[in-house]
Symmetry: C2
Subunit: 217 residues, 2 copies
Amino acid sequence: MSNLELKRRGLLCVVSGPSGSGKTTLCRRFSESDTAAVYAISATTRAPREGEVDGVDYYFLAREEFESRTTRGEFLEFAEVHGNLYGTLKSEVITHIEAGRDVLMDLDVQGAENIRNRDDRQIEEALVDIFILLPSDEELLRRLGGRGTETEEQTRLRLANAREEIRHWSRYRYTVVSRDKETDFQTFSSIIVGERCRSSRLTPREEGTADQPELGL
Amino acid sequence: MSNLELKRRGLLCVVSGPSGSGKTTLCRRFSESDTAAVYAISATTRAPREGEVDGVDYYFLAREEFESRTTRGEFLEFAEVHGNLYGTLKSEVITHIEAGRDVLMDLDVQGAENIRNRDDRQIEEALVDIFILLPSDEELLRRLGGRGTETEEQTRLRLANAREEIRHWSRYRYTVVSRDKETDFQTFSSIIVGERCRSSRLTPREEGTADQPELGL
């Protein structure tokens, strides 16, 4: 070969962490700053909160539609949480990773576990799971309370949920202990840039084949 | 727990690549810019080249001393290349990774293979192997010729060696296709920063235990 070009398969970055860990912001900010990355929007049957936009924050689906699409096998994973269905549509993921783009999504620990448990080689090879931890209970409480739009009861429930979620960090390939927004974003970006260099996802490209998008190698 | 602190074990970063790939510079520059990283100096029986300093570029050992130290089990790996012995002393590696520091070293493909083939769980867990590829034969030739201190014959030999080495890139966990010094350093640093977040090397630290160095988590 006179010219070594490597083609790479895309990543499926699944990011979990307690409320206030900044997981959604990390995914969105990275996908907005990097042309080879896209943010996967989840679907849900829960009602939109104030300010949430369909197709931006979530795909808000009627329960009937959600269920019929699960029956048609359109979901990569889905689960019922507190009486609402949440799920990831295959269409948000598969086409992108096959084209060498990286898909980022934030999922709760159950959603991440569902992804891990799929018996699907393509997903397994693409998967990069990251848990964002908060450095202390005090910091967790501070960030949980930070929204100012909920009752003490709701905060207590979220703290209990967060503590339950945190127990699962070691199931993830990567764990980031949150410090501040900038440091977290640098660390998060480094994980993705590093994973893009994994030899197992690289294959020599035959010369004279079709164009490929900029892959950020 | 009111305070979650994670302790991490150190990395053993083994970097290979053809002459001119910049592997040594990457290792040295990273270890100089990061307090949690150290550069492991190799030992060799070959004579110092002009400008090379004992204890900086290599430990230059007489063959007799090298051999008696291999007999005493002081080497993590060693090999004979073109009639000279090269090796990595355990003392350059083990203490550091146990203390949570990251050891960086550049090794040829044979040295890296020797490290991989050690039946040693500690080394296996710490190992992060990285191959630096050049984007084309033209670039390889340009960089091989760049030293200006050798004959055409020597350059031809180095080109043949380089081509042989390059065949092994997929044995490494990571492959970096070299672009320019700055981009390569950023990518290289990202790989290490990412590997520092691997959950498998993190353990919760018991409260009230002794101080640990800054681990760059």
